[in-house]
């Protein structure tokens, strides 16, 4: 994807370093990055909502996925870039540990952990984006919803795949079973990220990965960054397993509502298939994720119960903040995108609309 635009001194310093053509300038650019980052991390009011730090972390993480246009892939393992990630992550993880509500911990084991996760994810968390989509959202809001979701959904499943080589036994087999289905079971057209791209195109949106990153607020980047942080650190393997379980366990019912919302707006199956597919798929995945993945992991490694529950609760906590960002803007009659509305360069004819 293209390098995200500046949102402050840290993302700006990172961009300057990654695109710097002049080796002699590098030490200075590294020093500026280190200094601005240290200051920003020390002074941030709320790292979950910090546009500059979340954007910088998202850009640095992107080097581990599809890469950044015009940026040498060698930066992925550059010590200064890794140090930047570690510094932001440390504050980010601490904020999550401080703020994510923790229910009473279950005993390690498949039945106990699955039951605790079903209880945690079944609790109603208030206003819901899916109900709004189903009943009220305008065409413009439906497009904004897809733009927010595209930050993760165009690389759907990738952050959890990092955990595969970090697990073993029953938990590993479960994760591979889920991920294989996410990637379409070997059929490109069924890969969930491809299905999402098709839905975007159906609403006249650009499906280029990262195409809308500059338009989404920090909390949406934080939601994606959290998965990468959990997925790429072995010590957090319990959290990424719990995250996936909670994600799958809160997916079937909302996706039915999303599908209904897009049908209400007049879109046909080429747009709604993504959501309809998730209703059925995630009813399967949630059982495997809760029992074999999360539960199975705690049976194998009982010391990970707390992190499994933390990862699950963090998923619900951050995603409810991301949902609130949409609903707060919409109910105030405003756009939920940074910079207001969609750029006019985007083709706005809804290809899948019947009306």
């Amino acid at each position: 994807m293209k390098l995200p635009g500046d949102r402050g001194p840290v993302s700006s310093a990172l961009g300057a370093l990654l695109t710097n053509p002049e080796p002699a300038a590098e030490p200075d650019l590294i020093r500026i990055l280190r200094d601005t980052a240290a200051r920003a991390i020390r002074d941030t009011d709320d790292i979950l909502l910090d546009e500059d730090l979340q954007s910088a972390l998202y850009a640095a993480y992107e080097l581990r996925y599809g890469g950044l246009t015009g940026v040498d892939d060698a930066w992925e393992w550059n010590a200064d870039v890794l140090a930047l990630c570690a510094a932001i992550e440390s504050r980010f993880e601490q904020a999550l540990r401080d703020r994510v509500p923790m229910p009473p911990l279950p005993a390690p084991g498949v039945d106990t952990v699955a039951a605790a996760l079903f209880e945690l994810t079944g609790a109603d968390t208030g206003p819901s984006v899916s109900r709004y989509l189903a009943k009220k959202a305008t065409d413009e809001q439906a497009r904004e919803f897809l733009i927010h979701r595209s930050v993760y959904q165009l690389k759907e499943a990738d952050p959890h795949s990092w955990a595969i080589p970090r697990l073993r036994g029953r938990a590993k087999a479960a994760l591979v079973e889920i991920q294989a289905d996410e990637y379409g079971g070997g059929r490109l057209a069924h890969m969930h990220s491809e299905l999402f791209a098709r839905t975007m195109r159906g609403l006249g949106l650009d499906d280029t990965p990262g195409g809308y990153v500059d338009m989404v607020p920090a909390i949406v980047l934080a939601s994606s960054n959290m998965m990468t942080m959990f997925g790429t650190q072995r010590r957090l393997r319990g959290a990424i397993a719990g995250h996936l379980a909670a994600f799958e366990m809160t997916s079937s019912l909302p996706n039915r509502q999303y599908g209904n919302g897009f049908r209400r707006l007049g879109y046909d199956q080429s747009v709604t298939f993504y959501f309809d597919e998730h209703v059925e798929a995630d009813a399967v995945h949630e059982q495997i994720a809760a029992r074999d993945l999360a539960g199975g992991l705690t049976e194998d490694e009982p010391g990970l119960v707390e992190d499994v529950v933390f990862g699950a609760s963090a998923c619900l906590f951050v995603d409810s903040l991301a949902g609130a960002a949409l609903l707060t803007a919409w109910t105030a009659g405003e756009s939920a995108l940074r910079g207001g509305t969609l750029e006019p360069t985007v083709a706005l004819e809804p290809a899948g609309a019947l009306s």
Binding site: A173, L253, V279, A281, A283, V284, Q287, R291, D292
Partner: protein, 82 residues
């Protein structure tokens, strides 16, 4: 090796996992037939069959069992027939 219902692979044997308060997970090589005998196509290797009766995607589970508080007490068998 212990046979785990959740992880037994291979196409030869069909395994059915009874998920507490939820669907039946079916793995292996199977066909689901409609009453007249025609095959109900399945989009995935492992499927969840509704046993609460509420799903809108029957015979597949759509997660609705959670919304209606479906329970399978007494505890579903986990390997040995009761």
């Amino acid at each position: 090796m212990t046979e785990q219902a959740g992880t037994s692979g291979g196409d030869a044997t069909v395994s059915i996992t009874a998920c507490p308060n939820g669907p039946l997970l079916v793995r292996g090589r199977f066909e689901i037939l409609a009453p007249a005998g025609e095959v109900i196509p399945s989009r995935r290797k492992t499927v969840a069959l509704c046993r609460c009766g509420i799903s809108t995607l029957k015979p597949f589970c759509d997660g609705s069992h959670k919304a209606v508080g479906f329970t399978t007490e007494p505890e579903a068998p986990t390997g040995q027939p009761a």
